[in-house]
Structures are given as structure tokens and as C-alpha cells.
Amino acid sequence: MKIGISFAVAVLAAAMMVENSAARGRRKDEQLIETTCTNTPDYELCIKVIREDPSCATAPLQDLALIVVAEIKRKTEEIIVGIEKLQKTGPEEMQPALTKCRSYYNAVMVGNIPVAEQTTWGNPKFAENAMADTKNEAVMCEKAFGKIPTPSPFTKENKYIADVAAVARGIIRNLL
């Protein structure tokens, strides 16, 4: 009976130790994500975007940045689809703004995103510039609608991309 209780205690103690060290490991990865996001303009957004990718748990800083870049890529693809749709079916007075936005987001897709994907590891200053410019392209798209009578149909999307690009830039700055 004594042995049985000791054994149970030992097993319990062992189980607790294992759980603690796993928790400590988790805490270290969380710390990286938390510290990284503190150095960006939008902590909450940063955490949200990163945590959506399960690989974030063990990702080094460069890959955390790439998680955010991937989100920007997805949203850029979506907004381009939206722009093209409106170019076909939207009102005449919206066309000049749509043409501009198409050009801005095309630059993000063919220019900025590939640069960020290729240079975050090993030459991050180019990735930083690419993310800074991505924010500007999104802001310029929204401004393009400011010049025409109809309101912007992409205010939420433009702001989201601009904000996430600023977050990506903040993360990448830590790599320099």
C-alpha cells in the first residue's frame, strides 16, 4: 500500500513536471509573439493575424512576419477580385478610382508581396520597404475614392490591408 501511494505520488509529480515544462516552452514562444507584436502599431491585430496560423507556435521571427505577409496577400487577392467585378458592373463615375486602385493593388501583388516573401529571410530592408509601400498603396486607393462623388466601397478592406501592412513592417524592422 505504501509503495502504491508513493508510486501514485511519483506519477502525479512526474505528470506535473511534464506539464510545467511544456507550459514553460509554450510561454517562450508566446513571449516571442507578444514581444514582437508590442513593437508594431497594432498589438491586437498583430496577435490576431499571427494566431490564426497554427505554425506560429514554433515559428522564428522571420516566419511570423511571413504569416502576416500571407494574410496581406490573401486580402489583396480578394480586393482585386472585388475591384475587377465593379469595373465590369459598377457605375461610370467610379471607374477612374477603380482603375487607380487596380493599379495600386497590382503593384502590391507583383511587386511588394514577392519582395517581402523573398527577402524577409536574409535581406529584410527590402521587405520593410515593400510593406511600407503596401500601406501607402492601400491608403492611396481609399483616397482615390475621396475625389469622386460615390463613396468608397472598399473602406473597410483598404484600412485592414493598410493596418496589417503596418504591422508586418513593424515585425520586419526587428530583423534589421
Partner: protein, 524 residues
């Protein structure tokens, strides 16, 4: 590099787009540094040791007049960096079109003490008196900028020295190191291997973190095999720069045909990516400059190569023109969008120089230029040129001086301000409040004002303004994109917004022609 009567320029180039990517060593040749012909790429990914990229490096001319290139190859998707060599396939081809990369590559890989994604840009090699070659490679250890030193007897087996050639704490990653001798005679250029009593050395790095470069002047200590900056040199972010504007990844080379050292610099675009994609190109090499030691020994002097003058055409001269406070004069009869302008400003007294605010950071000239723009009045200055200006100055890029009184001496601030360069509304603020697309570049000019004059030369070329103060003591390059001040609608003014009257002692401007050959492909 110079080889058998022909200048070769190799540059990082993306054949597939107007952004960074797919980087190869593009190759252009020239007989006069002005007219260029493009050849096929000299080095491009083709082997395991450069499959993922062919990044920067340098050429060395070995004894027997044999060029060899050392360059950084990328070996995986994480941009791990190694150093490779390439040699001409055919030395009797005057254009050295083809280069081979033997399978003995890579020559140098990062050891455990080197961050293998911050390990690049091998320099031109120099041979020390002990008969061994040396090169230095840029990198970092945590936040310490490093210039690793490697030695070799035969140029193929390299050993890393225990200590770097030079390093500096808290400067971040060092790219594109450049290490070269300058003659104390202030005139002659020197081959990279020259050492001697009448020689000082220059060490320059490009800073990844800030996107600008800085240099120091010092001694190459043969015993310790280290570079030692002179005592009063500022070794760090606040140090001297080749150029206080848009100028990066620079590299110098020795031109034996004219015994001069020539400096190449890269200026990227300051507009948004969509503009670059639209126009289909991005990035320029600035006009090559000769580099010599200033008579004071405390800085370098740069000046556009003399061959540039072959593009000068119609000339417009004037002298003894007075500019009172608030006055400006238009320089007519000049193609203001494409001109070479030399002007000397004089003044009767330094008394009206405004005081230098003690609270200002002496090493942040850009901030002072941002706060005290050309439209803000002053005492002795602001005066200078308004380049790429629209008729009513809706757009202009001023290059100007403002002189301050600072205790018992005077400080001369030079600014090249892009903040009013374009009325186009893609101007947006960066997070830190600065408009990175339209910066107000600035640098101090360390010049003696006892002659009560200061000179300025500006090379104006549509979307770039390269300005040289006081014979090349301080240089600032700006990229600007006016939408009104284009071609025939661009104007040039001289102005003065200070209370002290300024005299234009001499003014010389030339229309600049375009070169006959502008880097089109060479047809056999």
C-alpha cells in the same frame, strides 16, 4: 572595373520586373564612362552555390592583368550566403561577355561565429607586403556591425582571421564594405593594394538599418591587420557620408588609365511601387565621382568625373548679380530639367547668421532642414537654387545653404529638400511622421567662410538632382517626381530668403545633352 581600355559596370538587376528580385549581375561596358552598352548578364543563378541568387561582390585585377570576381551566392530559400568566384571565359574578348564559375565554389562559407544570412559583399582584394591577399566581407554579430577579414596565398583557399578588419557596436548589419587607400597629396588615385607613408585608408559601410552609408579615414595597421580610424573620426551612425541623400550600396574602383579612384552609388526610386511597375524600371546609378582626400585630411572630396563635361552644350553665364531678401531670379535660356549648374555665392558679412539652437541634434541635419525649409526666413541664408521648379513654384526642389552662428564659429547647413517637389497627391506620411517619399535631406559643410563665399554645383536630370557643395565637401542626391515642372515646363531659379544680401559672384549653367549610347544592347 577597368580592363584593357574598357570600363565595366556590373550591377544588381531584375530582368523580370521593376522591383527587387531574380537578381543577376547585369553587365554594361563603356569606353568613356558616359556612353554605355548593355551586354548579357555576366553572372546569374546556375549552380548549387548560387541557385537562389547572385548578390553583390567585387572585381579584383590579379597580377598578369587577370580579372576575377568574388560575389555572394545564395544557396537556399532562407537566403543563406556564401562567397564564390567567377573568371572570364575568354580573356581575348575585350568585352568579357562570358564568365565561368568553377565547381570548386563556394570559396568561403560562414563558420559558427558568422550569421550566415548576414554575410555578404566581398570587397576588391588587396595584397599586403607579406604576399597574402586579403578581402573583407560585411556582416554582423547581434547588433555589432562586422567586417570580417579573410586571407589567402593563392586567392582560392581563404582563411578567416581571428579578428575582423573592423567592427562597431550598435550599428546593425554592415553591407557593401569598401576599403581603399587615398593619397595624402589629395590628387592621385591609388590602386587598392597601395600602402605607404603618404597614404591614408578609407573604410565605408552601408547600414542596413538606416539605409545610409558612413565612412571614416584612418590607418591600415599592418601589424595587427586591422583598420584603425583616426582619433577624431565619428565611427557610427553620425559619421561622415559620401552623400547625405539617396545614395546606397556604393563601391569605388581604381582607374589606372587616369590614376583616379572612382565612386559609383545607387539611388533607388522615391515614388510608390505602382509607379515603378507602370514605368517598367526602378533604380539608377548616379554620375560616377572621383574621390580624393581633402587637404585637411579629415574628410574626402568628391567631384563628378570630367568626362561628364563632354555632354555640356549651350552655356549661360552671368556674374555679380545681387539677391536681396525675398528675391529670386530665373535662369532662362537653359533646359532647366537637364542642366549642369555651377554657382558661387558671396556675402559681405557673417553678422546676420542666425544662432544655432543648442537643443538641436548636431548630427541630424535632415531634421533641421525639415523644420527650417527654404521658405522659412533667416539671417545668412537660406539662399541657393530652386531646381525642377514650376513657373509659380507650386513645385520646386530647393538646394540651399543656411549659415548658423555657433559660439565662436559658424556652421554651414546644406539642404536638398524634396518636400515641395511634386503636387501629386500620393504623398503619405510614414508612421514616424516623416514623409519618406519626399525627404528634406541635409548635411553640414565643413568649410572655412573667411573668403565669404560658398560654391555649389548641381547636376539636374529630370527626376534626380545631385548637388556638390564647396568643391565636393558635402554632396546630396535627391530623387523627385514633379508633374508640372517637366521638360520644357521646368524652371530654374536662384533665390535668397535671408536678411543678408547675397551676391552671385559667378554663375555658369550648361544644357546637358543625352549620351549617344544609353545602355542599349550592344549589337555585334
Amino acid at each position: 572595373m577597368y580592363f584593357n581600355g574598357i570600363y565595366h559596370l556590373f550591377y544588381q538587376y531584375n530582368p523580370k520586373g521593376a522591383v527587387w528580385g531574380n537578381i543577376v549581375w547585369a553587365h554594361s561596358v563603356s569606353k568613356d564612362l558616359i556612353n554605355w552598352h548593355a551586354l548579357e548578364a555576366a553572372i546569374f543563378p546556375s549552380k548549387p552555390f548560387d541557385q537562389f541568387g547572385c548578390w553583390s561582390g567585387s572585381a579584383t585585377i590579379l597580377p598578369g592583368n587577370k580579372p576575377i570576381i568574388l560575389y555572394t551566392g545564395i544557396v537556399d530559400a532562407n537566403n543563406t550566403q556564401v562567397q564564390n568566384f567567377a573568371v572570364p571565359a575568354n580573356l581575348s574578348d575585350p568585352f568579357l561577355r562570358h564568365w565561368i564559375k568553377p565547381n570548386s565554389n563556394p570559396l568561403i562559407v560562414a563558420d559558427d561565429f558568422v550569421n550566415k544570412t548576414s554575410f555578404r559583399d566581398p570587397t576588391t582584394a588587396w595584397m599586403a607586403p607579406d604576399g597574402h591577399w586579403r578581402i573583407t566581407i560585411g556582416g554582423r554579430r547581434k547588433r555589432r556591425g562586422m567586417s570580417f577579414l579573410y586571407r589567402s596565398r593563392d586567392f582560392f583557399r581563404w582563411t578567416k582571421a581571428k579578428h575582423p578588419l573592423h567592427s562597431m557596436a550598435a550599428t546593425g548589419n554592415w553591407e557593401c564594405p569598401d576599403f581603399f587607400p587615398v593619397s595624402t597629396d589629395g590628387v592621385t588615385g591609388l590602386d587598392t593594394s597601395v600602402i605607404g607613408p603618404k597614404v591614408k585608408h578609407v573604410f565605408k559601410v552601408s547600414l542596413d538599418l538606416t539605409r545610409y552609408e558612413y565612412y571614416t579615414i584612418g590607418t591600415y595597421d599592418l601589424e595587427s591587420d586591422r583598420y584603425v580610424p583616426d582619433k577624431d573620426m565619428i565611427d557610427g551612425w553620425n559619421g561622415l557620408r559620401f552623400d547625405y541623400g539617396n545614395f546606397y550600396a556604393s563601391k569605388s574602383f581604381f582607374d589606372p588609365s587616369k590614376n583616379r579612384r572612382i565612386l559609383w552609388g545607387w539611388a533607388n526610386e522615391s515614388d510608390s511601387t505602382d509607379k515603378d511597375v507602370e514605368k517598367g524600371w526602378a533604380g539608377i546609378q548616379l554620375i560616377p565621382r572621383t574621390v580624393v582626400l581633402d587637404p585637411t585630411g579629415k574628410q574626402l572630396l568628391q567631384w563628378p568625373i570630367e568626362e561628364l563635361e563632354s555632354l555640356r552644350r549651350e552655356n549661360m553665364e552671368m556674374s555679380n548679380l545681387e539677391l536681396k531678401q525675398g528675391e529670386k531670379v530665373e535662369i532662362e535660356q537653359i533646359t532647366a530639367a537637364q542642366a549642369d549648374v555651377e554657382v558661387t555665392f558671396t556675402f559681405a558679412s557673417l553678422d546676420k547668421a542666425e544662432p544655432f539652437d543648442e537643443k538641436w541634434d548636431r548630427y541630424d541635419a535632415e531634421k533641421i532642414c525639415r523644420e527650417k525649409k527654404s521658405t522659412v526666413g533667416g539671417g545668412l541664408g537660406p539662399f541657393g537654387l530652386a531646381t525642377l521648379a514650376s513657373k509659380k513654384l507650386e513645385e520646386f526642389t530647393p538646394v540651399f545653404f543656411r549659415i548658423f552662428k555657433d559660439k565662436d564659429k559658424h556652421l554651414v547647413l546644406m539642404c536638398s529638400d524634396a518636400s515641395m517637389s511634386s503636387i501629386e497627391e500620393d504623398k503619405t506620411k510614414m508612421v514616424d511622421g516623416k514623409d519618406a517619399y519626399r525627404p528634406s535631406f541635409g548635411g553640414f559643410v565643413n568649410v572655412d567662410l573667411k573668403d565669404m563665399k560658398i560654391s555649389l554645383r548641381s547636376l539636374i536630370d529630370n527626376s534626380v538632382v545631385e548637388s556638390f557643395a564647396a568643391g565636393g565637401k558635402t554632396v546630396i542626391t535627391s530623387r523627385v517626381y514633379p508633374v508640372m515642372a517637366l521638360y520644357g515646363d521646368a524652371h530654374l531659379y536662384a533665390f535668397n530668403n535671408g536678411t543678408e544680401t547675397i551676391q552671385i559672384e559667378s554663375f555658369n549653367a550648361w544644357n546637358m545633352d543625352t549620351p549617344e549610347h544609353m545602355n542599349h544592347e550592344l549589337k555585334d
